[in-house]
Symmetry: none
Subunit: 218 residues, 2 copies
DNA sequence: CTTGACATAGAACGGATGTTCTGATATAAT
DNA sequence: ATTATATCAGAACATCCGTTCTATGTCAAG
């Protein structure tokens, strides 16, 4: 996904770019990076900016003066942003597995949703899905809702997860309970509905954890 | 402090600059502003940017490519703030009327919730309520959820509203329909549940419109 | 030692960019 | 009509900027 290993020089470049953007509102030119980081040639800056882009920290718009901006990884490394952009990877539909986030988030950037860090916490590697259809009502989720997911294949007891039921060929959002004896209990969020019990754990596959549900009505 | 009076052309320039910065992370060049706003000369752009700077909307760094940024006045005019603080006025419990926002929101500010403007839209005068109890499940709202409300006593047909049923002594969240003949239909958000019909309109009192529902599970 | 991958220096090139100057148009006040 | 002010159009210009090419240095692998 993102190569954390960057050289000292690249780190100082990244920091300077972050500070510069914060102070001036626009990115620095390569020659400004030169003098700020004691690099003697623009070609060296260009080279290291390429490395930083490969590592996923910045995005370059070539042939454009000052055409660089911090990518998500770079932003979170340099400055704590108040808002977080999450990619909307697709729709969650009953009968289909949940889309899995591709190796790099940034490139997917088709549609995004913006949330404040305060409400979201410090979690990283999140993505959003739009719910299609009414098959999730037992999870108090409706058509058009947006669920914020954290991709993971194991969840703690009681957490709400997107689970893939092999037998049913269906994805649902349920509270996940690993009960003594290997049995799995899937508890709907709607307290008026009854849980589902599954004796064979291999029949259920956790595709991600639900972190938040958002319903826009305006 | 700031001269609000700017020409139509200057307004469109300001808007484009705001959008461009939001989309690309760096400001546009004067020629890009040219083609975007149907201006045929960079000198005209330069001229109007000077006017915008005089008016306090932007700050120019001359002799620097793409050396402009939105000043505070420009930011609040174009993109407003990116995050909005909403007051959490209290809890919504079945059997009690919804707390009414006092004349000034800010002073109540005990607890607040932070949302990005992008997801919220431009609406103003919003407040948040935390849902207590399971009496709202028919609105796909659960214990602990947060509803963003807009205080208003009338809603359009089909909008989700917090309605106070005098007879029942109860507040519920329902889709509100004024049907021909004066009858009112309250439709649960959960499509598997049946609507409630009320013949006497004076028995229902709209306390606010539901703009968003947020469920945090992390 | 040689090789190759990686990183750096320096300079030159072409395109992009902001500035400036001249001239034109429009509108309102005198 | 004349003047003043504000705005716009076009072109020329110097500079800024990213790219590219060549040469150099470093360091580990063979």
């Amino acid at each position: 996904m993102v190569d954390e290993r960057i050289s000292e020089k690249q780190r100082s470049i990244l920091e300077f770019v972050g500070e510069y953007i914060r102070d001036n509102g626009y990115p620095p030119s390569m020659r400004e990076i030169c003098s700020a980081t004691d690099i003697s040639s623009t070609s060296v800056v260009s080279y290291n900016l390429d490395r930083l882009e490969e590592a996923g920290y910045i995005v370059r718009d070539r042939e454009v003066s000052r055409g660089l901006r911090l990518a998500l990884a770079g932003r979170s490394r340099v400055m704590a942003e108040r808002v977080v952009q999450l990619p909307v990877l697709g729709r969650i539909v009953a009968g289909e597995p949940v889309p899995v986030p591709s190796s790099d988030f940034a490139l997917m950037g088709d549609e995004t949703i913006e949330l404040s860090r305060e409400i979201l916490g410090d979690v990283d590697e999140l993505y959003a899905l739009e719910v299609e259809g009414n098959s999730m009502v037992d999870a108090l989720v409706n058509d058009g809702d947006i669920v914020i997911m954290h991709h993971q294949s194991r969840v703690e007891n009681g957490e709400m997860a997107a689970v893939w039921l092999r037998g049913e060929g269906e994805v649902t959002l349920k509270h996940f309970y690993q009960e003594p004896g290997g049995r799995i209990r899937l508890q709907p969020a709607n307290p008026t509905m009854d849980p589902i019990y599954i004796d064979d754990p291999s029949r259920v596959e956790v595709q991600g954890k639900v972190v938040m549900v958002i319903r826009k009505l305006a």
